[in-house]
Each structure stands twice: as structure tokens, then as C-alpha cells.
């Protein structure tokens, strides 16, 4: 197995998607193992926080293409192999099925669900085996996907991003993360984001309607209003008045600790005036991201937990800096974890709210991690996972099907194992991606528009980016590069309800939906239904027969997620869901199984502490395959 001269490796043409944490390790290990024709795609550029583990990159490379720098670095110790780098998005049109077909195996080191699904579909369409991977902290996994042999990446449901009920965020926070979501998605957006966007900041149990107009005026900053006055007004409104208002609803606090209103005068007394006097001659330059409230208040350590007073000072100073140094951006800002001033504002606001609700305060460092959905990452796990990817890739190239394994890298050993191999599962026969099983859409065909189906189902749930929709042989809609006269027709169709389309869609219709780039085609059977439960079926339609994300919502209420953690991480894995239990098939050697009764079972429950984390959620898979 070890020989680097064996031809399946040397002759193989492999595609790596991702040149980040796993990618750097993988490219190195592939090169050392004798691979000599490697193509690597990554759209990202190098950042300082990558350097602790992406060892092919140096400080001097910050800002450059990851794929290109990784290639150059590996060629230094393996000068005679071919590495082709692409500084591009794998979802781009150049990387179509024909492009994928030239490879013997595709190796993923990606950081988000969206790209993983896309690559999965292209690998299926091109019939190229895929080795998929992910890590977070000390945990990681490697899986093998071969069309028709093993399950595809989408055969099992993936955990959806964690979401929280709106009322928990707006009225009854009990954890620090609730305060962060409030500070980031409500307060920060309200003050600095798009004014036209819906915002639940003022939605409260009872009298929201009567006060809402008045409330909107409070957040509006008029040109001649003194910024310090404005800041204290906002402070008193959201941390004082709003809490008083919430307290008046006795029902809410029957079984909860009552929050305490906080007013700026109680926290800051009169020293604010003095402080602001000094701030007028601060030396913060006007160039966007370098403005910092911590710097102008002389605070250095992001690991410190600030007092309520310090948080209040940071909040008001951050607000002042936004309005004085970054005025042009106001109205267009969205929270960005690399925006120091935004992180300072959100940390301070979340901490003041936490203080109000008796929740422990957190440092800026911690708050940034929570607010930015920053995935924990260390070099060692990536190195281990990259080694395991190469081992699977070699098996795939040798067509050694019986030896394929999915491997989990664990933090705490299970049955003495830190690296636990499991036999891959068979394809899920009802997977709409890798089998051709139709899906069922229940919908009110007299009320729902084609647009609703495209946005809520075809794009959001089926993950297609450039869909084409047919009813029998009639084309209803096509996205992408099409002629102008057709665009007008399709746009008109989008606004029509289903039953009134040129070729009407009613109960019993079968729609064919295709994405040519992904070469994915599926059939949707339409079933007409009059009524939908607004609470439980907010889309006004129900899709079944597809692999649904495992919902991490705390209840069925309307909910808020903590940012888009499927797309904007710059780390190795996008989707992580902590689970209390999981089940793995026992692959122990039967002839040796004598020592413990538990080992004789087909399956064993691993009931560890609640820090055991399942990656990329194969939870349902394990449940379904449970054998008693």
C-alpha cells in the first residue's frame, strides 16, 4: 500500500475543492504520496487568522489567492509534479460536468453546505467518486460517495442552522447567545442597516401597534441632533423603557426572573460629559474598518470581560464613531465579524442586555466567536483528516470497494477508538438527488404564484441555482442566460398563480425541474390543498419526499437564526449540530468479541457528554439504520 510508485496514484488526475485548513494539509499529503496531477479550486484569499493552521501560507501572502499560493508552496518540495490552481468559485460555469469528468476522484475540503451540495451533484452527474470531509475543533470526519455504490452527500439530512424563537430574542432571553442575536440582528440592523427591512425590535406581546410609530421616530437620527444625546436616548429606550414595558406584562414573568431596566444616567452618571470631551480630539483615522471604540477608550485586551459601565461606554462610543467616522455606510451595514467597530458595538449591547436579564457577561473575544459563527479550528485535526482523505482516495483509485470507510475523528475515545471507521451506507432510494424518486408538493394552486415555488422550494429547499421548469412539454420558467423576450414572458409567469399559468398547474400535475449546471433533474408531483397552518407551515406549501434538514429550532415558533452560518464561515465546516446521542454500527471483529456483552450487539449507543458533536449530521441515518 505504501509504494509511491504504484500507478493508480501516479496516473490519477484528482480535483481538490478548497485550499483552506484541510486543503493545505491535503495538497501536501497528496504530493508526498505520489500524486502528480492535482487540480485545486478555491475562491478565497489568505487572512491572518488562517496562518495558525494553513501552513503553506505566510504573513506576506495575506490577500493573495489560496489556491495559487498553496500550489507554489507545494511545488517547492515536489517540483516535478503538476498542480493546476483556480482562483475561482466552484459554482462558476467553467466547472461544469465536462470539467468534472476529466478527474478520477474529487476531494472536498469545503466550508459550507451550499458548495458541498453543488459538488456532490456535479460528481453524481459526471459519475466521479467524491471523498468529502469536515472538521471543527478536535472533531472531524471523512466520507466516500460513489454513485450507485454508497449514499451521496445529500442522501442524509443535514442539520439546519440553529434558530431561536422570536419572542426569546425580543422578550425573554435566557442565554448569552440570545443577547448576541438581539444585538446583532435587531439593534445593530435597526441602527445601521437597511431601514426598509423588517425588524422585530419593537414587536412585543401587547401594545406594539400603538407605540410603533413613536418608536420608529426614536431610532431616526436627525442631522442636527447631538450624537451623545442621541446615543443616550437609544440606550435609555432599548435598555430602560423597553424593559419597563416588558415588565408590565406580568404573565411573562410568572416563572421567570424579572429583568432590571438600565438607564444610562445610572450607569455612567455625569462622567460621560467629561469622557466625551476627551474624545473629540481622538486620533482615530477615518478609514472604515480601523475605527475602534476600544482604542479610543484605551482598552486593549479582547479577553477581558468588561463591567456594565465599560460596556455602556463602549456602546455609546461605538455609536458615536459610526455616526461621525463612518456616516456614509449607515443604512447599508450588515454585521461582519471582521468589522472591529461592529463587533465592539454588538458585544457591548449584548452584555448590557445580559446584565439586565441576569445572564453572565462575556469578553469581546467570546462575543465575536458567537456573533460571527466562528468555527473552531486547529492544525492537528486537519492534518489527521487530510491523511484519512488520501487513504480513501487511494482505495477509490484502486477500486477497492469493500474497503471504503467513513471515518470519524473523535475528541473522546469511544470503545478505545479515537479514529473510528464505519462502513459506508447504501444510497437512499428516496433521495431526490441521486435516485430519480419524485417529490410531492402540497400547495394551493389557486393562490400560490410560480415565484413562490421557485424561491421557497426550488432554490431554498432543492438547492438549485439556475432552474428550468417544465409542465409536460411546456416551458414555464428558465433562469440564466436567456433572450430578452423570453425574460419578459418568464417574469410574467412568475407573477401568475399556478392554476392560471399558460399551461395550468393543478392537482395531479407533474412538474419537471432541471438545473443544467448541476445536471440535476427531478419531478415534482403537485397536490392541491386549500389551507395551511400559518404557524407550522409558514411557506404556505409542504414539500415531502426529500431529505429535510434536521431542525435545530427550539420550538415551532417563528424563529431567528444567528446569521447565515452555511455560507460565510471562513473555516472548514459550516454545519455543526451538538447532539446528545448518536448510534454507530459496531464494526468489531466478531471472532474476538468476547469481553463485553455490549460488544455483541449490532449497535451501540454512545452516550457521551453533551460536548460530543456530530458533524454534517448523519443523525437520521444512524437512527434509521438502527438494528435491534
Amino acid at each position: 500500500m505504501a509504494s509511491s510508485s504504484s500507478s493508480p496514484i501516479k496516473d490519477a488526475k484528482v480535483l481538490m475543492v478548497g485550499a483552506g485548513g484541510i486543503g493545505c494539509e491535503l495538497l501536501k499529503t497528496l504530493a508526498l504520496s505520489g500524486f502528480s496531477d492535482i487540480h485545486i479550486i478555491d475562491m478565497d484569499t489568505i487572512e491572518v487568522s488562517n496562518l495558525n493552521r494553513q501552513f503553506l501560507f505566510r504573513q506576506s501572502h495575506v490577500g493573495q489567492s489560496k489556491a495559487k499560493v498553496a500550489r507554489d508552496a507545494v511545488l517547492k518540495f515536489r517540483p516535478h509534479i503538476n498542480i493546476t490552481s483556480y482562483h475561482a468559485n466552484v459554482k462558476g460555469p467553467d466547472f461544469n460536468v465536462d470539467f468534472f469528468k476529466q478527474f478520477n476522484v474529487v476531494l472536498n475540503g469545503l466550508d459550507n453546505l451550499d458548495a458541498r451540495r453543488h459538488v456532490n451533484r456535479l460528481c453524481l452527474a459526471a459519475d466521479v467518486p467524491l471523498v468529502e470531509s469536515g472538521t471543527t475543533g478536535f472533531l472531524g470526519q471523512v466520507t466516500v460517495h460513489v454513485k450507485g455504490r454508497t449514499e451521496c452527500y445529500e442522501c442524509q439530512p443535514k442539520p439546519a442552522p440553529k434558530t431561536y424563537p422570536v419572542c426569546t430574542i425580543t422578550s425573554t432571553p435566557s442565554k448569552f447567545v440570545h443577547c448576541i442575536v438581539w444585538a446583532k440582528d435587531l439593534l445593530f440592523s435597526k441602527l445601521f442597516g437597511d431601514k426598509n427591512q423588517d425588524n422585530d425590535l419593537n414587536v412585543r406581546s401587547s401594545d406594539a401597534a400603538s407605540s410603533s410609530k413613536n418608536v420608529d421616530d426614536i431610532f431616526e437620527h436627525s442631522k442636527d441632533e447631538d450624537i451623545t444625546q442621541y446615543g443616550r436616548k437609544i440606550f435609555d429606550h432599548v435598555f430602560g423603557y423597553n424593559i419597563e414595558l416588558a415588565l408590565s406584562n406580568e404573565e411573562t414573568w410568572k416563572n421567570r426572573n424579572r429583568p432590571k431596566p438600565i438607564y444610562s444616567k445610572d450607569v455612567l452618571s455625569d462622567e460621560l460629559a467629561k469622557q466625551n470631551g476627551n474624545l473629540d480630539n481622538d486620533n482615530a483615522s477615518g478609514d472604515g474598518l480601523s475605527v475602534s471604540a476600544m482604542a479610543s477608550l484605551g482598552m486593549k485586551n479582547p479577553q477581558d470581560i468588561w463591567s456594565l459601565k465599560e460596556n455602556s461606554r463602549i456602546l455609546l462610543e461605538a455609536l458615536r464613531l459610526f455616526f461621525t467616522k463612518r456616516e456614509k455606510e449607515i443604512g447599508n451595514l450588515s454585521f461582519d465579524k471582521d468589522d472591529q467597530l461592529a463587533v465592539e458595538f454588538v458585544t457591548a449591547a449584548a452584555n448590557i442586555r445580559a446584565a439586565s436579564f441576569g445572564i453572565p457577561l462575556h469578553s469581546l473575544f467570546e462575543a465575536k466567536g458567537i456573533a460571527g459563527n466562528i468555527v473552531h479550528a486547529v492544525a492537528t485535526t486537519n492534518a489527521v483528516i487530510a491523511g484519512l482523505i488520501v487513504i480513501e482516495a487511494i482505495k477509490v483509485l484502486k477500486n477497492d470497494i469493500k474497503s471504503y470507510r467513513m471515518t470519524y475523528c473523535l475528541e473522546h475515545p469511544s470503545r478505545n477508538m479515537l479514529l473510528m471507521p464505519v462502513e459506508p451506507f447504501e444510497p437512499n432510494k428516496s433521495c431526490y438527488v441521486c435516485s430519480e424518486s419524485p417529490i410531492l408538493l402540497e400547495i394551493n394552486t389557486n393562490r400560490s404564484k410560480l415565484k413562490d415555488v421557485v424561491e421557497k422550494i426550488i432554490k431554498a429547499k432543492l438547492g438549485m441555482s439556475l432552474p428550468l421548469i417544465m409542465n409536460a412539454s411546456n416551458l414555464l420558467y428558465e433562469a440564466g442566460d436567456i433572450e430578452d423576450d423570453m425574460v419578459a414572458i418568464y417574469n410574467a409567469n412568475l407573477e401568475k398563480v399556478l392554476a392560471e399559468l399558460p399551461s395550468p398547474v393543478t392537482g395531479g400535475t407533474m412538474l419537471t425541474v432541471e438545473d443544467f449546471q448541476q445536471e440535476l433533474k427531478c419531478n415534482i408531483n403537485i397536490k392541491h390543498r386549500e389551507e395551511f397552518d400559518e404557524e407550522k407551515e409558514p411557506d404556505g406549501m409542504v414539500l415531502s419526499g426529500w431529505t429535510q434538514p434536521v431542525s435545530a429550532a427550539e420550538n415551532e415558533d417563528k424563529s431567528v437564526s444567528n446569521g447565515a452560518n452555511t455560507s460565510d464561515n471562513n473555516d472548514e465546516i459550516g454545519i455543526v449540530s451538538p447532539l446528545k446521542k448518536r448510534k454507530l454500527p459496531d464494526d468489531s471483529d466478531k471472532s474476538n468479541t468476547t469481553d463485553d456483552a455490549r460488544h455483541n450487539k449490532q449497535l451501540q449507543v454512545i452516550d457521551d457528554e453533551d460536548d460530543l458533536v456530530m458533524l454534517d449530521g448523519d443523525l437520521d441515518g444512524f437512527k434509521k439504520r438502527r438494528v435491534s
Binding site: 493552521r53 485586551n301 487530510a386 491523511g387 488520501v390 475528541e411 475515545p413 477508538m417
Partner: protein, 323 residues
Amino acid sequence: MDGEELTAQETALYDRQIRVWGADAQRRLSKAHVLVYGMKGTIAEFCKNIVLAGVGSLTLIDDRMVTEEVLSSNFLIPPDENVYSGKTIAQLCCNSLKDFNPMVRVSVEKGDLSSFDVEFFSKFDVVVVSCCSLSAKKLANAKCRKASKRVAFYAVDCRDSSGEIFVDLQDYKYSKKKMEETIECHLNYPSFEDALSVPWRALHRRMSKLYFAMRVIEKFEDIEGRSAGEVSNADLSNVLKLKRELCTSQSLNESHVPDTLLERLVTDTTEFPPVCAVIGGILGQEVIKAISGKGDPLKNFFYFDASDGKGVIEDISDSNAGK
């Protein structure tokens, strides 16, 4: 730990890993001194990992000159004769590692493992040895144990597509998170010599076959006066003969040490790069745990074999013999 704070530069560079192990662990790492002996591919991987993690210093020892075999699995050495001629492996690796993280002091020492005394080992918090004989491992481990402070000792051996890690943390106290609280734990490790003296028949029946296979080959090299890894297919019949003798004297059924496994380990002694990555990664993680005093360390052997994909921990110590 004293309250010295991480610099802004450290916080920015180590952001993602501080989120895994905490700022206090990062401070301890930055004060730790690590020694490695024998720069094969697995150790190159390990060095990369702990230099990236930000240890205080790393000292390398390997006086050998570059050979084809060394180049095959060590990505720290550029395969350019103009660069590597006249320099030892340790010197070449040192130059590459310095680049990975300017905040870590990487340096070179010269000499044979057996020539270093207790005082020398006392300068380090962690000692990792590889490519050395049974007696050299025992001796180095014993010297680390005699040091005035605790020196964590690790021995690594990779052959073909499998590898072994031995860990001796002596009397080791650490903390770990259990649910919401932090609990204090205590482990007592045997020395390499004491672990090896545990009778084979006393070990549990699912013991990794690699443990026995490694002992047979190690013993064979020791008897024959070979250096580590200096075996070939020509030795197979003698290795199998030794296996039978050892199994008989230890009252162990020979099926626990399959001939096919020994054949694999004897035939191909060169390292397999993916296994270097796995073993070097696990070793890096363990050393980081031992330095930071956080999380369950492995006790006291670890095995990985690419042929079955399992990464297994085996506890081989007296107190555990009856298991």
C-alpha cells in the same frame, strides 16, 4: 500560571485555536520547550503541528545526511542537492520550520540520543523520540523520569501503513470539562520498560495486534544489533521464528500476531505519508494536551493502521493488567 497576557499579534494569529483550547492554554504553550529526536516524516508532521500551535521553542536532533528515503516523506526538505548537501537533516528541517511561525524559536542540537544526560533532558517539557532502538528508547525514557521536573516522554514508530505512539506523562494531573463543570483528574503512567514488562497473557483479548508485532520486530532489531527500521524481507523467517518463541514464553496464542502483519512491517519499512499525517496529527494533539493540562490524554499506547482505518488507544500498565 501567571497573568501574562497574549499580545495582540498572538491573539490575531491564534484566534481560531484559542477558541478551541483557551487563552491560558495558549500561554502555557508559548512557554513550553519541546525536543525531538529523529526527523522522519511523522516527526516532520508533528513539528509542523506544534510550531503552528505556537510552542515556546523546538529543538531538533538528527545528524544524518539526506537520502532518497528521507526525502520521500519529509516535506520540510527541498529536494535540491545544492540546498541539502553538506547539511544535516535537522539543520534543513530547522530552516523550513522557522518560516512556519516566526514566534517559535527553532534550533538544532547534535549528538546521539544515548549521549545526552539527565540534565540535558531537564531543559525540556516534552521529549519525542523516533527512529531509535528498544534500548535507546528505554534509556531516554528513564533519564526523563530522573529529571528534577516532569518531562513528558513520547516514542513514535511508523512502518508501512501503520504507526505506534507511546506516552509517559509519569504522575500527571489535569483538568477536563464534564458537563458544565471543570473536574480535576489524575493519571499514573508506567515507564516504557515497565509497560513492556506487563505479561502478554495479562492483556485484554482484543489488544491491538500491532502492539505484539511491534514488540517482536523491536526485539529482533535489538538482538541483531540493527538500528530501527533496518529489516527487510530477508529477515522474515527469523522474525517469525522469534515471534513463535515470544508467544510460547508469554503463553500467548500465535493468532494474536499474524504472520501477514509481520510480513508487511518487515517488507516495507518506509513511511506512508498519509499515516505520517495521521500519527503526526494525533501526537501533536497529545503534546498540546499535555502542555496545557487540559483534556484526557491518551494512556499509554496509540495505534493506527491504514489497512483497517482504526485509531486505537491501548492502556498497558500494571494496574491495568487484569483487565
